[in-house]
Symmetry: C3
Subunit: 492 residues, 3 copies
């Protein structure tokens, strides 16, 4: 008798528990979010389903707060009490800080923000948002707009160029072409131009009229004034930590020819092993265990993920200041140089009064850049990750190669820059805009494409990008072609 009871009793309790859990799960969706879902599961089923697969739909912040350090994904010490006991649903995110949100509007009885901003995410993920706010990524738009040289470059390369007196002239700038190229990654400034009526599947609706939208650039300026877009890397509405750790996420923007980080990774041994064995990787865990959750690093492992060893001991902290383990800046500028101290790189002025960290004659603006002690400090931080798989000598020699590569590519950029200066001196071309004549294009290619590629190729061991694919073959041939162009221009 007892035997039967025990079996049926167990099944019964299990069933009750199961039903009970389901019941309580349902209770944990806030009534507001439930109302959102009631419509949106018909209107936009894709995002509702995506959210249902997310961690946000499965755990209440109160429970998330109680996880141990290795499993924790929320970083705020305190979470506002009205958010603690419901899963993180539509309303929890889209209703925050309404006064700050110029995009807040009345939507079927609720006050809703169209855009969820880092400042909203901060309610639970404070550390990440704060770290991010100190990173160059969060200033990515201003880094382009507020730097007069970069801003001129953007206009020169995205405008309505037409022939003019034997040369060319920018007739007009195209806002859309900036938004769709440079600012698509760097971020746009979203503006709210009042309300407008749209014709939705629910009939006519009044919604905020957003300009420079949609956009998910890393330095987006949001309608609440905050900077950044968490969905750049944690796409809606799953917001997965796993997605952000896949190289494809970084590869949305860090691509050849100007920033070939993703491409070099793909052709590196790390990339090869990732591609060959990625189905065995476990990138969902809050803290990644060396050799268990991953065999080789993805971008995130080296640059910002929390890493632990099998014993659960911390090896590297999570950081959302993506430059925190970087000592040298290898792209986007003629010469490699120590990382800037401040993310507001548009504030830099070098000795020649240029908004650049290094003058054309290679003098660094030292007061704006980290010093050699900090360089060494960051090298060791990064190296401490390499050494979980590689010997000390391996890591040291690897970094020494990078120093050489930077010096040698800088030398070749210097050659092209000297040639450019010489062409200015000889009045072959007009120095006013350094981006708009063929000789200048050779110069831009020299650093923005070829020197960059080679530095990345060494940084991650993807030799094709140091050789024939935008590498040394081009870096040296470009000097030859530039010289020929200068010679020909001299004769006109």
């Amino acid at each position: 008798m007892y035997k039967y009871f025990s079996i049926f009793g167990f099944i019964g309790i299990a069933m009750l528990l199961f039903m009970g859990l389901n019941q309580s799960d349902i209770q944990k969706v806030s009534s507001e979010t439930q109302e959102c879902i009631d419509c949106h599961e018909n209107v936009t089923p894709g995002i509702v389903k995506d959210w249902l697969k997310s961690q946000h739909s499965k755990i209440i912040p109160m429970a998330a707060l109680q996880k141990n350090e290795n499993e924790k994904k929320v970083s705020s010490k305190e979470i506002p009490s009205h958010l603690k006991n419901s899963v993180v649903g539509c309303y929890e995110c889209h209703s925050l800080n309404p006064d700050a949100h110029k995009d807040n509007f009345e939507h079927f009885g609720f006050k809703i923000n169209v855009v969820v901003s880092p400042n909203d995410c901060k309610s639970c993920h404070q550390t990440e948002v704060e770290e991010y706010s100190h990173s160059k990524k969060s200033y990515a738009l201003d880094i382009l707009r507020e730097n007069p040289l970069y801003s001129l470059m953007v206009d020169t390369y995205t405008g309505d160029i037409r022939p003019d007196k034997g040369g060319t002239k920018i007739h007009n700038t195209f806002e859309n072409s900036k938004n769709e190229s440079c600012y698509a990654c760097h971020g746009t400034e979203i503006e709210v131009k009042g309300l407008k009526t749209i014709n939705s599947s629910m009939g006519e609706l009044e919604v905020p009229d957003l300009s420079n939208w949609p956009n998910q650039g890393v330095g987006r300026i949001n309608p609440d004034g905050s900077k950044g877009s968490c969905t750049s890397c944690h796409p809606r509405h799953n917001f997965s930590i796993e997605t952000a750790r896949q190289p494809y996420t970084c590869g949305q923007c860090h691509l050849e020819p100007d920033v070939p980080a993703y491409n070099v990774y793909k052709s590196s041994k790390h990339g090869n092993i990732f591609d060959s064995h990625k189905s065995d990787f476990k990138l969902k865990n809050a803290s990644l265990i060396i050799g268990e959750d991953f065999t080789v690093p993805t971008c995130a492992v080296c640059h910002n993920s929390r890493i632990i060893n099998s014993a659960g001991e911390l090896v590297a902290n999570r950081t959302h200041d993506f430059g925190a383990r970087l000592w040298v800046r290898i792209f986007g500028l003629p010469y490699s140089h120590n990382q800037p101290k401040s993310p507001k790189t548009f504030e830099i002025k070098n000795q020649d009064n240029q908004p650049l960290p290094v003058t054309f004659s290679q003098i660094p603006a030292k007061e704006y850049l980290i010093d050699d002690v900090e360089v060494q400090n960051r090298k060791e931080k990064m190296s401490s990750i390499c050494k979980n798989c590689h010997s000390t000598q391996w890591a040291t020699k690897f970094f020494a190669k990078m120093d050489s590569t930077n010096a040698h590519t800088d030398r070749l950029v210097r050659t092209a820059t000297d040639m450019l200066m010489d062409a200015y001196k000889k009045k072959l071309i007009d120095p006013k805009n350094p981006f708009d004549e063929p000789i200048e294009t050779y110069w831009v290619n020299q650093w923005l494409m070829y020197a960059n590629s080679i530095r990345y190729a060494t940084a991650m061991s993807g030799p094709d990008y140091a050789g024939f694919k935008n590498g040394w073959y081009h870096l040296t041939n470009n000097v030859r072609m530039m010289q020929k162009e200068i010679e020909r221009s001299s004769k006109k």
Copy 2:
């Protein structure tokens, strides 16, 4: 007693059922196909195994006809009775319509066609074949061959070019080089030049001698006169619907630099999420459920797959007319323009009597192109797919960006075209062949590479292809280089 019976009885029935099913499966392979397999499982084991994994080997058309609309993969209302009750094996496909097939031959007692054509597949998949026959894809070969401008372009870029009187001249055309480049995607015309003897592993055999073979281009002209090759996207001998829905399939032909659809997708957020989570996608189901079978679209989801919601309601119909949801044509021609009404684009004549949908001075050949009502209609068709995940405003603004991008890239193509016309007027170059002089190459690059890339980059949000990767950087620099080339040519 009863208890024991019930258990053993159940197992026994299950075993009998299992054996029985196997038995009946075997019976459902036709005797002809069984004879094929008897040899070919030794001679070409790869394709026999591949077929064994296919749906074709697992279901008889009679049963396929009875599936409900959401699960159905056959579209013919009636299937010829001799095909209904065997699985779709070697003989079922390779023996159809022998009189039409110039490649039919006697093969170990059977009359076999080498090439299975869309007209053969039509026996079961009538709707798909009919839709396909109205698509530009099915006319892809004639679109190149029958358009004198395109045909000249093909010859100019694949021929035996040699220096000639200070310039260059096409000495000879290379049929093989056309077949291996342009026609590899567009399709060849397969010709049967009688029989020939080959030395196979079965000894000497007489087989039809096919020329322009092998080929699997989308506009292939088959030995039965039909157009297309279903294996372009549903590769032999698995013929999987799943394969056709993977972006890699489209990526065989829709690649940078001229049609960077695949590349832009890969670097888009959709592509990132697909790459990050594709192991969770279920692309085998006849109708794809939003948010369950896929989280983000692959090419097929937006362009042609049958999509339903969780309730089983139809969201979008399957179509094999791949332009059915497209309103604007953004590649392969200088200016973007409304889609052509007919797939036979070689019939178009514009006001300047060119076989192009838009004149060099940007006047569209309106009578050959869909009108604005149909444009709006198709925008809404496509938009209705976007809106399963995105808001109405998002979709609207997204499409508005595309309009801007098309206008701005057209403007830059116009600039280059005006420069070309001016060079013709000044007799700097010969207008007879607009593809064979360096100034003309700048012009071709302007639209065929750079304007195309930028339009795709906006269409799918892959900003690198609007920026430094064949994007605005090149579109504007190319004008500068073209201007320099014209200036230099003026001085000779």
Copy 3:
């Protein structure tokens, strides 16, 4: 009673067996390796974990020797007795042949080699190492260094080039830039410069000071004088046969623009099917079963894997001489030509006394190249693999296309070479270094980039690489641009 015994007895025996196996596994790690692991599982946990996933950690050579031919991964008939009965751990590999290893050093009481070389792996994998030693891969470094033309090319494209008297001059060579580009794939010569003290996480340690390290190029010259690096394709410390068979491994070096094997594969139908269905592939098995372990070939399937049919019969032998099934050499040199007889291609001298297999006027150095009988022999070897899925006619016509493509691309290379020779004759440029002037760069691009791409595109059916992506479009336009450059140079 008996009943209960049988159940509990079975479980008990199973448990004992299970525990016993574990026990004996542990015993099979040598005491030396156990000492390595005791430290290194803390110091470099990543590689210890990686090794634990490897076959090396799971089987003793004695057992590996007893596997049947289809399952065997060791090829040595005899394995040294001291290696036979422990799993292949740290010490087993890093202690071999200490007298030959200039990188041997005292490490916590053990004599350890830093670098494990093919000569060490040979203890168990004799056939593979011997085959490899006859392949061009093992001579990859000398093929560049010992061929004066290639060596000049490397220096020209990786050096400190500067303007000089209206042209340019190589001011200095950069060893690091060679190591990070050409030699990263071809291999460096690792030199041991005595011992040095490093600061490791275990405190100060004396280790051999290696130069040109780290490197994993295929022709690396190791501190024991042996050539090659098994980890090029079987990366540490998993050494997986599966990794080596993934296309990503080959893709580390065989990449566009100069050797676009990987890229062409990716855009081919084989590549599409692999990408679409790779999760179903079983690339771990020592012998790959056609249609079961793979549906379409990866690089390894056609070039070197052991292939069997479902009956277990041998279809193709494993080979580590990667050219064994190749008849024609299609990259890295102006003209396609029969494969060289010897891997020491630097020994070749043609009729014009150049270290090239074909003269500029297309006369092959026949005595150094395989003859037509051997060409036919290898075509048949390769064709026998194709025919497991494709008909005899398909394979024959496929190879005939390749012959045409080679002839036609050679014709276009000849045109450019004749133009170059003519420019030399007219003293427009200096013939001393054929790589360092713009006219010569057009010539190099003609063969090293465009002709190569087209040949690969045909060899694996990836038509984009025969068309707009470094294909015929560029091959013909490059003649036009080169002609224009020559014309302009003539006028100075």
